[in-house]
Point group: C2
Chain length 250, copies 2
């Protein structure tokens, strides 16, 4: 039977194939892709073949598909990811060298924090963040900063939705989160002690854009046994440095 029964476009289908990959499944067979997308095997075969020919996907000798370099090459032109990272890297490196802890740079995408950069020292506390990965706004340092300076609609939507509990310390009460966000705006920093992981404390600050909005958040993550105070000046300075590099008038 010709043409998509659901009326779905070819472009949409091709993109859904790409979106099937995840941090947990970085390599998939043709059958995997068909099952996960719900597309007929023949259709998947044709679409996957086109994506592989162009370089969006790569197929190895065992028939496993992975996201291809060509896609990454194009995606690396995204101003809000690699572009932002390029501007921020000197300051992230400075902060890393001064502390040898985990350093993060994240942007808000919808109702989540999307990590565009992460530098972790060998001996830094283990954290779950991943470049290209997403984490919730309410339970991370960078997330709290991004949420505090987001439009009110975004804040209301996040607080209206379920606030997932990750540890005993996670803030899951909307009124409490509202107070926390007010404090973030007052101090222009966010401290997140064990909200996402029991053993990790995060100190974050906003990165301002040229239009006076907050375009990213920068943070350091240390063991929860550490006091946050000593890290505040360095994190704030790094964030301000990135802001200036982006053309913000502080």
């Amino acid at each position: 039977m010709p043409h998509s029964p659901s009326g779905e476009t070819v472009t949409s289908r091709a993109l859904r194939v790409l979106a099937t990959f995840s941090a947990q499944r970085r390599e998939l067979t043709l059958s995997d892709l068909a099952r996960l997308t719900g597309l007929p095997l023949t259709t998947t075969h044709r679409l996957v073949g086109e994506l592989a020919t162009w370089g969006a996907l790569e197929r190895d000798e065992q028939g496993l598909y992975r996201i291809g370099l060509r896609l990454w090459e194009i995606a690396a032109l995204a101003p809000r990811s690699v572009g932002l990272r390029e501007a921020a890297l000197p300051f992230l490196e400075d902060l890393y060298e001064a502390t040898h802890e985990n350093v993060h740079l994240a942007v808000r995408d919808g109702d989540e924090a999307l990590y565009v950069e992460r530098i972790s020292g060998r001996h830094a506390v283990s954290v779950v963040s991943r470049v290209g990965g997403r984490l919730p706004l309410h339970a991370t340092g960078v997330g709290l900063v991004l949420l505090a300076y987001a439009d009110v609609e975004v804040q209301e939507r996040v607080m209206a939705g379920p606030l997932r509990r990750f540890t005993d310390r996670t803030v899951t009460s909307p009124p409490e989160l509202r107070r926390l966000l007010a404090e973030v705006r007052r101090t222009r920093t966010a401290i997140s002690p064990g909200y996402l992981e029991n053993n990790a404390l995060s100190v974050a600050a906003p990165v301002w854009g040229p239009a006076g909005d907050v375009v990213a958040a920068l943070s350091i993550v240390v063991p929860i046994s550490r006091a946050p105070g000593p890290f505040l000046p360095a994190v704030t300075a790094a964030a301000r440095g990135v802001s200036r590099a982006l053309g913000a008038r502080l």
Copy 2:
């Protein structure tokens, strides 16, 4: 008139739209995209709309399109880019901290070196490389390493093609390049003094994969006034560290 006169598929067209963006043109109007792809305005409008809806493209209030975060998020799952970078980062950071010079990690893609990571110090010599960017194999340190260990077909193809001259020092003679590659294999390092830029000297070493092949190259780039010798041990050690992290048996 229905359907592509050239018989080109929808997927191919959509990918070509994405491929229109470049380091020189990170933001384009709808008309730009139509002109650059050669597609009719209506067709471009439809395809671009779909890409934007999904997040592969982002449109600002002025009607300028950019590569979207969603595409980068998917592309960040590419093992040969961000995956490789994750494994390599501790060693790249070590090399950077020890020298505060430019540190590169690149892979071979076709007949070019594609840069998956770059860490540059504030005072490091200025270099033209860019994360997500490509540079020629014969005129860069990482490129010489990647070429030296590539299949013979790749080597022959590169040497059969024009070897573009960038500086007076660029190796453009196939016999000379062949000798240089033999030297790279003998010493397991590549030294590239002023081949691409007059004022930059590069020292590179191979990164081995678990299958005993060279999967990437790592390098440091310093001012041409520096002697390469003192950097060799650190570059080699960093490359071996990355190799082990990738499961190579050295």
